[in-house]
């Protein structure tokens, strides 16, 4: 993030397709050199937002400015907003080098220079020796890198990415995430990355924009969104969160009859969020406040094991543990446990 003027500004942007409002009143600023991920469930308007930025869709109302210039009437081919497509959209009748050269050719760069620049990018993406291959002779990861080289060869100030990793195998996704973050840091350009995958967005982005039903639900750093979701939609979408209902009176919240410290919260009924990895599991009732819950099941996730419980009020509770913790707890379905958390792990959501 820089403190200069933003590179991209969406001002009161709306987009409808017939009666369907894909994007309702979007206001968003994207800084220079920033890695922004736009995330949300399908149909939330994230792809439409990206397509409006590329000029593939025109806003129904509102304005989009890039680098101070209003873009509403600028056609796609006059914008400098290369897009890495979900399908990659590499040209099957051109070889690897010709694909990468395409953008330069359209900009009227001389044949010698465009070849040199294309080869440099292929080298940089680790595709030396594949220059004359056909696209269908490449693996998924190689195609991905050709698509990146094709978009970046024109040295744009912004790269748009539309779920580019969704077609890759899990191990390749992690590797490509590394490639993308490194590339973005090295080039210092803006990346706008659309995804439905929380792990991709949180792993790479400086700032995450969560969209739901055509509106921005929350903007913030990955940590902020993870620890302090502003509303129930975000808390649920991010997952691995416990959403608990209780009543606050004088810095104390009462949940299922137990009193927990909750400093600084206004009195009255509220919802709080406790992340699964901040939830502590006790095999016996602790002296401090805790929620009694019945063990339901466990799930092996990449970073640990998520244990699912059912509280006395029927609410679902999740706690993340390590494998050794799980061995000590020896949970069985129906066995009672007590769940508690440190006061600073609880976060009040607005509504």
């Amino acid at each position: 993030m820089t403190n200069m003027t933003p590179l991209v500004t969406f001002k009161d942007v709306k987009k409808s397709f017939g009666a369907f409002k894909a994007v309702k009143e979007l206001n968003l600023e994207i800084g220079r050199g920033e890695f922004v991920a736009i995330m949300g469930p399908s149909g939330c308007g994230k792809t439409t937002t990206l397509r409006m930025l590329a000029g593939l869709e025109a806003p129904s109302s509102g304005t989009i400015t890039i680098d101070g210039q209003e873009m509403n009437d600028v056609p796609v081919h006059d914008r400098d907003t290369p897009l890495v497509w979900q399908s990659l959209a590499l040209f099957p009748f051109l070889n690897v080098t010709e694909n990468v050269e395409f953008g330069l050719k359209m900009r009227g760069v001389a044949p010698d220079e465009r070849r040199t620049r294309a080869l440099q990018w292929l080298d940089r993406m680790g595709l030396k020796g594949f220059e004359n291959r056909r696209i269908d002779e490449l693996s998924g990861g190689q195609r991905q890198r050709v698509a990146l080289a094709r978009s970046l060869v024109t040295e744009p100030q912004m790269l748009l990415l539309d779920e580019p990793l969704s077609a890759l195998d899990a191990h390749l996704v992690i590797r490509m995430q590394g490639v993308l973050t490194k590339l973005q840091k090295e080039l210092g350009i803006t990346f706008v990355y659309v995804t439905h995958s929380q792990s991709e967005a949180f792993a790479m982005a400086d700032r995450v924009v969560i969209m739901g039903q055509g509106e921005i639900a929350q903007i913030g750093k990955p940590q902020e969104i993870f620890r302090a979701p502003q509303n129930r939609f975000v808390a649920e979408f991010v997952g691995r969160n416990n959403i608990l209902e209780g009543v606050v009176h004088g810095d104390i919240i009462t949940i299922d009859g137990s009193d927990f410290a909750l400093p600084g919260a206004p009195d009255g009924p509220v919802e709080i969020v406790v992340a699964a990895d901040r939830m502590q599991i006790h095999a016996t009732a602790p002296t401090d406040a805790a929620i009694a819950a019945e063990f339901v099941s466990e799930e092996f996730a990449g970073t640990g094991i998520i244990c699912y419980f059912e509280g006395e009020g029927g609410e679902e509770l999740k706690a993340q543990v390590t494998e050794s913790q799980l061995a000590t707890l020896q949970p069985e379905p129906g066995k009672m446990f007590w769940l508690s958390w440190a006061p600073d792990a609880a976060h009040v959501i607005a509504g």
Partner: protein, 259 residues
């Protein structure tokens, strides 16, 4: 299993024999020295080819047919491609009606189409001229060209064209550098097929050709006079020309679907 496959091979061979026997017979007799098609065969000769192609009207007919086929194929393919692209790119009301209309010509009986063409072209002062036959054959060929191009466009990722715009290609340039190269096999195959349709076409050509006879029309006129082995010779040349075009078209269609 073995016997089963042997039987199916025999069946296929029999089927091909049944379909191609008349044509092969005609080819064989075109090289036979006897005046009448009888067995046993006479001697091998190229006499009928020599006499047939020493007649200037045969050359004129071939020249007419080639001009008509080559031109009608250009127009049919262009129209067919444009129609298929419109279907691919745009959604609009009455699109189904538009497509049905575009695919209508092959469903009209040829006699009716021939009569209608004659009446219409006569008003335009084009009946009996080569442009008149070209127009008629363009109408007949365009639906085939459209079907072939449409098949190819269906295999195209719609992001491909948008990717070209996104990389700085204007809509026309994207058409030239992406859509047409992608569809090239289909376009060439549509050209070959519509040329073959035009080259073989008799009924409509008979109505509108007047004095500018195409090969099929000329063949009928020779036949009306007498049975002459020259017909076999001319027929063989026509068959080989059409088959070459059709096989070329098929090869291109097969290759594009496999890649």
């Amino acid at each position: 299993m073995r016997i089963g496959s042997a039987i199916s091979w025999v069946y296929v061979a029999a089927l091909f024999a049944f379909v191609f026997a008349p044509i092969v017979t005609s080819m064989v007799f075109s090289f036979n020295s006897d005046r009448f098609p009888t067995v046993p065969l006479g001697e091998f000769t190229t006499h009928w080819y020599e006499t047939a192609f020493s007649r200037p009207e045969v050359w004129t007919a071939f020249r007419n047919s080639l001009i008509v086929a080559a031109s009608a194929a250009v127009f049919s393919t262009a129209l067919g491609f444009a129609t298929a692209y419109t279907d691919f790119r745009y959604g609009f009301r009455f699109k189904n009606a538009y497509l049905a209309l575009a695919l209508l010509p092959p469903t009209i009986p040829l006699v009716i189409l021939g009569l209608a063409m004659l009446a219409w072209l006569a008003r335009l002062g084009l009946s009996g001229t080569l442009p008149g036959i070209i127009i008629a054959h363009t109408v007949m060929g365009a639906p085939f060209a459209m079907a072939i191009c449409r098949l190819r466009l269906q295999q195209m990722d719609s992001a491909l064209e948008a990717a070209a715009w996104n990389l700085g290609a204007s809509p026309w340039r994207a058409m030239r550098t992406v859509v047409i190269p992608f569809c090239a096999p289909a376009i060439i195959s549509a050209y070959c097929l519509t040329a073959a349709v035009s080259f073989d076409e008799f009924i409509v050509a008979w109505f509108v050709s007047g004095l500018n006879k195409t090969v099929p029309v000329m063949i009928l006129e020779i036949l009306q006079g007498n049975v002459d082995p020259q017909i076999n010779a001319i027929g063989t040349v026509v068959f080989l020309t059409s088959m070459t075009l059709v096989i070329l078209a098929q090869l291109l269609i097969l290759r594009k679907t496999s890649s």
